[in-house]
């Protein structure tokens, strides 16, 4: 298996009294709640944590993009990647991902990622996402066009990376008569593309196309959903005439390791609950603006009142297998069992979440690196030649 450190970079200094006056830490919480002095310290702390991952033997780090929120201070993951590019030498940096439907000029994304891949000599992993629904309220982009712009922008970027002479791109949302980016990516034909998701049939269909074979990464989901969609990915690949291996699949979840199971639960509890209840909460109508999901999916959510917006507890998260929490032995056994049952070769650990302080983050990260990861290296190991063939 391979191990990545997925950082969300929250602004963890929120005053609870201020936060309580608003229904969400996204969009509506005024940025007067942000203190740039503390922000400066946080950015440098988080970058230190990601650099530590390289020293501890992790395979890579993961960054993502969100806007107007204390949930994450990474409106541009590409800038964080640039800050890490020359401070790290070995690890992969995965940007999962750029929210391309928000861009009127997706070529800028193609160019920035190509630059980063050149600077890092091919250590870049890319990913493209639609963002969550609320980004469409933040940016004004019409959510009913989200899927179209997602597919079109991604096609434009991949063609810009791979075609070796000027070409015309004639899409519905993007029409560019003269595409000819400089530089081109370092990796050939292009950097790996991963597909991070909370799980949807549409995403599985997209990633498992024979001409895509993008790595499918299921994040922050209940165990049942992880298994369902990873099974669906393998079945879809087979229907499309190719065979998926563990190298095509990844699982992302919050992780906390401590000396004992009891200590782990005690130390993780307030911080993981803050991730869900303080930082992540978004009212349903802003989480799912009309058009962001298909009308049929939305009908299921609204008319059938699917309960997905309640307060979270660590017990509930553990019961549904959303998080890993425990002693090194417990975490090792659970992770190995999931990897074997679901068939993924890459774990994306959210080792920092919510208000977790620096000391506990480092302690858990070090325990995972020394007492969990080394024991799981051979689990679902895919021959490099096979992996190279499929994981583009």
């Amino acid at each position: 298996m391979k191990f990545f450190f997925f950082h969300l970079m929250p602004y963890l200094h929120l005053d609870p009294e201020v936060r309580a006056q608003y229904d969400s830490a996204w969009m509506v919480l005024p940025n007067s709640a942000y203190d740039p002095q503390k922000g400066h310290e946080l950015y440098n702390r988080y970058l230190d944590e990601l650099e530590l991952a390289e020293q501890l033997g992790f395979d890579g780090v993961v960054l993502n993009e969100h806007h107007s929120t204390a949930y994450g201070l990474m409106p541009s993951p590409n800038i964080i990647c640039a800050a890490l590019a020359r401070r790290t030498k070995r690890i992969k940096i995965a940007i999962l991902g750029n929210i391309t439907p928000l861009r009127d000029h997706p070529l800028m994304v193609a160019e920035e990622l190509a630059m980063l891949d050149n600077i890092m000599g091919g250590r870049l992993i890319t990913g493209f996402v639609r963002g969550i629904g609320i980004e469409y309220l933040v940016w004004g982009v019409n959510p009913t066009c989200s899927h179209e712009r997602f597919h079109e922008s991604q096609e434009l970027i991949v063609r810009a990376w791979t075609e070796r002479k000027p070409f015309a791109f004639e899409g519905k949302h993007y029409h560019m008569p003269w595409v000819n980016i400089w530089p081109t990516p370092y990796q050939q034909p292009h950097p790996p593309i991963w597909t991070p998701t909370n799980g949807s049939t549409e995403t599985v269909e997209w990633a498992a196309r024979a001409d895509h074979r993008y790595k499918y990464v299921q994040n922050l989901s209940a165990a049942a959903a992880c298994k369902k969609y990873m099974d669906m990915y393998r079945a879809t690949a087979e229907r499309n005439g190719w065979k998926a291996t563990p190298a095509n699949l990844g699982w992302g979840c919050p992780v906390y390791v401590a000396e004992t199971d009891e200590a782990a639960v005690r130390e993780m509890k307030p911080h993981i609950e803050s991730l869900y209840n303080t930082f992540f909460r978004i009212p349903p109508h802003r989480f799912f603006p009309p058009g962001y999901t298909s009308f049929e999916s939305m009908k299921r959510i609204v008319v059938d009142k699917v309960p997905i917006f309640g307060l979270q507890t660590i017990d509930n998260l553990m019961k549904h297998g959303v998080i890993l929490c425990g002693s090194p032995k417990t975490v090792r056994e659970q992770l190995e069992a999931n990897a074997l049952e679901w068939g993924f070769d890459t774990h994306l650990g959210v080792y920092h979440f919510g208000t977790l302080p620096r000391e506990l983050t480092e302690k858990s990260l070090r325990l995972f690196a020394s007492e969990v990861a080394p024991h799981l290296r051979r689990v679902n190991e895919v021959e490099p030649s096979v992996a190279a063939d499929i994981a583009v």
Partner: protein, 258 residues
Amino acid sequence: MTVVEHQRAGAAALHVSRAGVGRPLLYLHGIDGTRSCGELVKLLGERAEVIMPDHPGFGRSETPPWLQSIHDLAYFYLQYLDELGVEKVDVVSHSLGAWIALEMAVRNCNALRTLTLISAAGIHLKGVKRGDLFMRAPDVVLRSMVASPELAEDLVKRVAADQEIELKNRYGIARVGWYPPMYDPELAKWLHRVVCPVQIIWGREDAMLPLEYAHELKRLIAGARLEVLSGCGHLPHLEQPKQTASAILSFIEQAAGK
């Protein structure tokens, strides 16, 4: 009596309600759909033949693949009027429907005998605060649409009883009106092309589109008259159906007498 029919008009299976006898009157519904139009349609139907379609992409009509913008709806209804086979119609329109009607009228007024604009969307006044449709919870938006709190509760209950239609209407509104929010930046400069008789009806307490919008439309459309309803919000057909019907019918009949 209301007769409901399904027909193919242009390129969409359309759900159309009809009521009354007399001169044809096309009613273009607003963001709240047709659910609250019953009383007004009944009153108008005493003197006219009211034709009230659910817009393509709304209510019980089909969502056709060609539907992308407000302009598509304007061209669709211009073609619909051609196919109705009547020489001229009185168009009565509300909110989103009035935006469609304005987009039709700047293109071609030939089939419009008169145009009534109630609480019309479609233009933007910089710095005048409007009611947001998508940031606030749907029930909060509904309550803000009417002036009377009792009516607001009644409206919320009525909508809760048919959530699928409400959801579909929200998808339709987002498709044509998400950005720029509920207006067309190219529309205002062409409003001098609206050359049929125009009456503007507005609730004085409209919190979705404040009364300033009514005055701006009156300024931009030569000869337009303005009827302001006191104690009324964004839904005059629900809040004051009698006064609204009476203003519409007297205007239409006066225009016919000219």
